[in-house]
């Protein structure tokens, strides 16, 4: 089979864009934490580029995309067995496909790190993401995209379910073990550097064009559609979050705008190739509103989803998945507004199964870790900060 050169370019550059989201995420999270935890927080993202990339090549890709059963792929492509430089997937070299999908496997567990900043042992974090990649990411990826039981049923253009719901729900689940940071609700846990966070948001948006529009896997009209919806939804969502803050708290913060943009990006992810650019506006607006409320509720329930990994990725991912079932209207995808109410049901099913599965697995992994190498650092380590205690370094020296 011959490859299409333009499609190949598109997937390769999109892969690079998605990889850039990882430093983007590191900055986004890193800016929001205290000085004493910034390297720890950034490492949670960076190290995923090491661990998850290797895991993906060695076994993850095979579990997600090689032939298997309804639940998980087989080991046929472990160590990229059976794939060589001439292998083709669709219209692109298989290596390009493996790389593109690998970027998703890298960033997904890193998203969870937003919930747990400042209180997890580094070695436990490593074990966690490695196990989570095998137990949660690879199977769910197989369900939705790799031939599993949701493939061709649930609409998930670029990973709303596979990426954001899995990571967002797992963020909430792992908090049952971790509890709050010391000093939660106290002044000193404000973001140490919001300019880093804004830069991170900028890189995330930039990279997200690869994430969403690259998911068409071809340089075609659908790619262009996914691209423009990825511009519109976050614009609307950022604007709405800012307006809500303005109205409720008296000030439109830069951080609020950036958070809204992120919520909009999450929301449009499953929908990006299925809805019109105009439909991307209500998707952005509604999700921004819902996530805003979810983050507000956090304050009331008092759990410490430190950087709102659940509030934005979990809630935003679920909202986006459902809204996809409502607004889908492009190509063969049709949603509620076009009278296809069954799609919304399927979306709901997909969300529910994934959420429950991810939560249970995360609780299991957390349980095993607590019983073995432990999960949480000591009180004194938390006070001193993870940069010094886990990594033996500090971010800033005079």
């Amino acid at each position: 089979m011959a490859i299409e050169a333009a499609d190949t370019v598109w997937v390769l550059i999109s892969s690079a864009l998605v990889l850039l989201m990882v430093p983007g995420l590191a900055l986004f999270y890193g800016g929001l934490v205290q000085r004493k935890n910034v390297l720890s927080s950034m490492m949670h993202s960076f190290v995923a580029m090491g661990v998850m990339a290797l895991e993906w090549i060695l076994i993850g890709y095979s579990l997600a995309f090689s032939e298997g059963n309804w639940f998980v792929g087989g080991l046929g492509h472990a160590l990229l067995n059976g794939i060589d430089v001439y292998s083709v997937t669709g219209t692109i070299p298989t290596y390009a496909f493996v790389a593109f999908q690998g970027m998703f496997a890298i960033i997904t567990p890193a998203l969870i790190s937003g919930a747990i900043v400042g209180r997890v042992k580094f070695k436990s974090y490593l074990a966690f993401i490695a196990l989570w990649g095998l137990l949660v990411y690879a199977p769910v990826c197989h369900w939705v995209w790799g031939g599993g039981f949701l493939t061709g049923k649930a609409l998930d253009f670029a990973g709303g379910t596979v990426v954001h719901i899995t990571s967002g729900i797992s963020s909430l689940a792992i908090l049952t073990y971790l509890g709050k940071r010391r000093g939660y609700g106290v002044d000193s846990i404000k973001p140490h550097n919001v300019t880093l966070t804004l830069l991170g948001a900028g890189l995330l948006w930039f990279g997200w064009f690869g994430f969403n529009a690259g998911s068409s896997l071809a340089a075609n009209q659908i790619a262009a559609l996914a691209f423009i919806t990825t511009l519109v939804a976050p614009a609307a969502a950022g604007f709405v979050w800012m307006a809500l803050e303005w109205y409720h708290l008296g000030h439109p913060t830069a951080l609020g705008f950036a958070t809204g943009v992120l919520a909009g990006l999450v929301a449009i992810t499953p929908a990006s190739g299925f809805v019109t650019p105009i439909a991307a506006i209500p998707i952005g607006v509604i999700t921004s509103f819902v996530c805003y409320k979810a983050v507000e509720l956090k304050g009331r329930f008092g759990y410490d989803d430190s950087l709102d990994a659940f509030g934005v990725h979990g809630v935003g991912g679920i909202t986006g998945a459902l809204l996809t079932g409502i607004f889908a209207s492009v190509g063969s995808a049709t949603g509620l507004l076009l009278g296809n109410s069954s799609q919304l049901l399927i979306q709901f099913e997909g969300v529910a199964i994934t959420a429950i599965y991810a939560a249970l697995c995360t609780l299991l992994i957390g349980f095993v870790l607590i019983r073995t190498i432990g999960l949480k650092v000591s009180e004194s380590e938390e006070n001193i900060g993870l940069d010094k205690t886990q990594h033996g370094e500090v971010a800033y020296n005079i």
Partner: protein, 114 residues
């Protein structure tokens, strides 16, 4: 001699410097500190967590002076730091005794070195 330590609002630094310059006082040391005081931080909502933003950015000014200069300098600091809108958190001036001062470059000591 006295060692004056003044804690003021950051946005008043330029005004304080202007007042001091009128007295031809232009040797001083400035640093950035965080203050807790009568000025309670407003309740802030940061990502849905309510907390009192009580750690407030302040500027610390240190000036070593001869005794007879003390009063005018305190007045100058007060004028500059208060502005027209003297309100909570305007700050304080602390006066400590200073026993000696040495100018490193010239080996001068005592009041001459100020």
């Amino acid at each position: 001699m006295k060692y004056i330590i003044a804690i003021i609002r950051p946005e008043r630094l330029d005004a304080v410097k202007r007042e001091l310059q009128k007295l031809e006082v232009n040797r001083l040391t400035v640093s950035s500190v965080a203050g807790y005081g009568a000025q309670k931080g407003h309740l802030e909502l940061y990502r849905a967590i309510e907390h009192e933003a009580n750690l407030l950015e302040k500027i610390k000014i240190e000036i070593a002076v001869e005794d007879h200069f003390l009063q005018p300098i305190i007045e100058a600091i007060k004028t500059g730091a208060k502005g027209n809108d003297g309100y909570i958190g305007s700050g304080k001036v602390f006066v400590l005794p200073l026993e000696d001062v040495i100018r490193i470059r010239t080996n001068e000591a005592g009041p001459d070195a100020l």
